[in-house]
Symmetry: C2
Subunit: 261 residues, 2 copies
């Protein structure tokens, strides 16, 4: 997604993607089967559960995180009400999470990029409170949560990392609430583009040119505006020379100005 989609076995970089080292998560070539995860050799480990762990501890994590799962575009990783058993580390691809509000209305509560963690919502009630839907063909590491908890009791730095991940999700959502509570449609869209850009940049992709994998409707839902307003706002920003829009292809021409919105 956002230029991250390649099949796990492919070794070629995508068109206008990574200049920096390829981040596509995959087992060490020719060693592991497609259903076996290996934190030790994963290019995403510094973004993920394994960050800050020493070699020995990563090896222990490897034992807990034994397999991964592939999810085709449009398919569910989990859905509302499902028994909570695992959290998922996104290896490749991208997801959206959707919560159903009463009266049938839905809200897209988040978009997820490689290295980010899905499923934390399920811990509280032992069942998931949203649907996680793949925006493109994706792969995730399956992390049985009771094993993760057990490891956290033994590995202090892993425990701290899990706490940080959960806290970061709280902070992210707080920011999103502030956006929904305060900003104009234009500010929301600008802020959204910058957020995607930043996150892609941190993963080694171009923060200037990227492809949005979600629809205008998804974006609108996430930002609390209609899809028409998203479309109109993108057009206006383009007219003002701040971005270039070609369907899902986006180029940020003037970050400064976007930030100022």
């Amino acid at each position: 997604m956002f230029e991250t989609s390649i099949s796990p076995s492919a070794d070629v970089a995508v068109a206008d993607a990574p200049q920096t080292p390829t981040l596509h998560a995959r087992p060490a070539p020719g060693k592991a089967s497609p259903s076996t995860a290996q934190c030790s050799t994963c290019m995403l480990r510094h973004l993920c559960m394994a960050s800050n762990l020493n070699h020995a501890d990563v090896a222990r994590l490897d034992i807990a995180v034994r397999n991964w799962r592939s999810v085709k575009q449009g398919q569910l990783l989990y859905s509302t009400g499902d028994l909570f058993q695992n959290v998922y580390a996104l290896r490749s691809g991208s997801f959206k999470t959707v919560v159903a509000h009463q009266c049938g209305r839905e809200y897209v509560s988040g978009f997820f990029l490689p290295g980010e963690t899905l499923g934390l919502d399920g811990i509280a009630t032992e069942s998931h409170t949203c649907d996680a839907i793949a925006l493109e063909d994706s792969t995730v590491c399956v992390i049985p949560f009771h094993l993760l908890e057990a490891l956290c009791r033994e590995i202090k730095s892993l425990q701290q990392h899990v706490h940080r991940i959960m806290s970061a999700e709280i902070v992210r959502e707080t920011g999103q609430m502030a956006l929904l509570g305060n900003l104009t449609a234009e500010q929301r869209v600008a802020s959204f583009l910058l957020s995607i850009s930043d996150r892609l940049g941190r993963r080694g992709y171009s923060p200037r040119d990227f492809t949005l994998r979600m629809t205008r409707e998804d974006i609108g839902s996430h930002l609390g505006i209609t899809l028409e307003t998203v479309s109109r706002t993108l057009s206006r920003l383009q007219q003002e020379g701040l971005i270039r829009v070609n369907g899902k292809q986006i180029a940020l021409l003037d970050r400064e100005a976007l930030d100022a919105r």
Copy 2:
């Protein structure tokens, strides 16, 4: 707040407050000094860190949670940028948390009642990302987070409880985002009143009659609408016979109808 405000030494119940056992957190009478917390004797322990712990483990928690802090109305428990060291369990009173968005605008990200936990936002970056302001004279248990982490490595049920608290905060915020993204002003206000009512009910207070401790402006900010719209909406709901409003005093006359909004 919402009828929870008493001084720690007072033993009288407030006007139209608890019919059920008084929930006001306090040390066992005549035993502990005002600055010493004691989970073992705290009336809130089933809502708080100590829930699901056996006697021996509560005793160990007592050692970590040695003191409490009193915060006068309008004062800060912590503020944005403060070094993160503790989380806080609210014993009595109430708080709001306020995040500053760029360009000076502020957003009230949450209201907190006795038994709820403040400060989880600080874990991710080691510094707090919001201001926590007392809505009335309040007291909190000070829980040094590194001690809590250490205990969590030893007490599985405490670890699980901490995870559940953090996950519940994520779920709460997701719900708030959905509210901000989808609902009309009237639905937001109705939903807010019901949420406060439910939480008070679970604490043994009347879910029907309560006092809002925050201003219309705080409510508006939290709900993403203006204070005028809050005021107008409350008036309208009163006119329709769903609630009775007298300044900060609220009575819910028709929960069903409120829910239907």
